[in-house]
Amino acid sequence: MSTHLDATSMSADELIIAYLDNELDAAAKLAVEDRLNRDAAFSKRFEFLAANAVSMDAAFSVLLDDAPVERMKAKLPALDQVGQSAASPNRRGFMAAACLIAGAIVGGCLVRLLSPDEAASSRNWRAVVADYMQLYSTDTLNNLSDDPAVRADQIARVASVMQLPLTTQGLMIPGIPFKRAQLLTFDGKPLAQIAYLDPKYGPLALCVTHSSTGKSDFRNERRLGMNVVFWASTDHSFMVIGRNPPEELHTIAGQLRPVLDG
């Protein structure tokens, strides 16, 4: 996860963009999130840059079809030795279609190219979330705003980007206070994190990402000393992660699932 970027020497815009591009290491990400909570001007700038991003993938994949492939092939040196090569797989086809439907120019995050590592990423997103959650302590979540309007606003933003019918009421878990809903990115795709603070077990989170792996039922796993319950709907992958015992996480996931399936 680490990069050669030095977060201490970065301007506010650079920090924000590197954060949105998922180029910061976990500690620098947390520092950005902390600053978002403390520094109103920074937070406003973050909102502005995140909300006014351009999705480029669809537009540029249209351009690929303009390439004079046959002519270029004909000019390839020593092509006769190359033999018939398989047609280039259109990795971006699916994403391009999705972007076009979503509208190429407004809203959302910059959508990065789906890399060939995509299949692996969809399996690994839980590992990345676990990595990230490992850094959370009670203090991370303790001083966040309790203002219902702020929370409603956070939830509305997450709901809109993730295309889920989320409501404040629907996301409440009995006995475990809601702390924050925020958008992160993983591999250029939005990743929503709804954080809670369990008085007994500490930070707990529901995380959501877009996926097309197909529906699957609850499964459990253990990562970095935390328990995870994960499942998927047609369009999303979900996970609940925390230090709560597995059966308790299962109950929590069971309460949240009907809301998330919309």
């Binding site: 815009d13 924000i16 390839l76 047609a87 407004v106 190219l113």
Partner: protein
């Protein structure tokens, strides 16, 4: 003997891999030069140099990244200095348009809006933005392809995003836009 075999493997991989990357190389050449015929020349020169220098390619690594960096250095070293005079940031209308008719007009319209935005960026920013947000390279990979420090990549991207965000925000506020019916 072993060295020979390694060289052979690298040559094989480069030669057979080139065909798969022609479209994307052309697109990169087009984004840099904004001229379709120059893009085509760049691809041809890139292929030639890639085969000549196949020994420098490490089999099993990302061939596309390696080819991008060759194309970029050709653009910088040769074509740009000798043949290309950059315009002021506006592409000819027919260069910016997506000519293929198989897409619906709204798709083409939106694509061209995005291309126009990116086209308005200074070349250094446009280059980094393309590699990051279209080709999906990490900051580190971009730094390698362009042979610049990672901090420079970051500042180019941040400046480009700030500039694009200003334009998008202004467009959103404009009452003349947004009607689709």
């Amino acid at each position: 003997m072993i060295a020979d075999r390694k060289l052979h493997a690298a040559q094989q991989e480069v030669q057979s891999g080139l065909v798969d990357h022609l479209k994307r190389l052309w697109r990169y050449g087009y984004v840099l030069s904004r001229q379709r015929d120059v893009a085509e020349d760049l691809v041809q020169a890139t292929c030639l140099r890639a085969i000549e220098r196949a020994a420098q390619y490490t089999p099993g690594t990302r061939l596309d990244r390696w080819l991008f960096s060759i194309l970029h250095s050709i653009w910088i070293d040769e074509v740009r200095s000798r043949r290309i005079r950059l315009g002021g940031g506006i592409v000819d209308a027919d260069c910016a348009l997506i000519v293929d008719g198989e897409y619906e007009s709204e798709t083409r319209l939106m694509a061209n809006q995005v291309l126009k935005l990116v086209d308005g960026l200074p070349e250094a920013q446009r280059n980094a933005v393309f590699l990051a947000y279209v080709e999906g390279l990490s900051y580190k990979e971009i730094a390698e392809v362009l042979d610049i420090p990672i901090g420079t990549v970051m500042s180019r991207l941040a400046n480009a995003r700030a500039r694009l965000a200003d334009i998008i925000a202004a467009v959103k506020e404009s009452p003349l836009r947004g009607r689709r019916d």
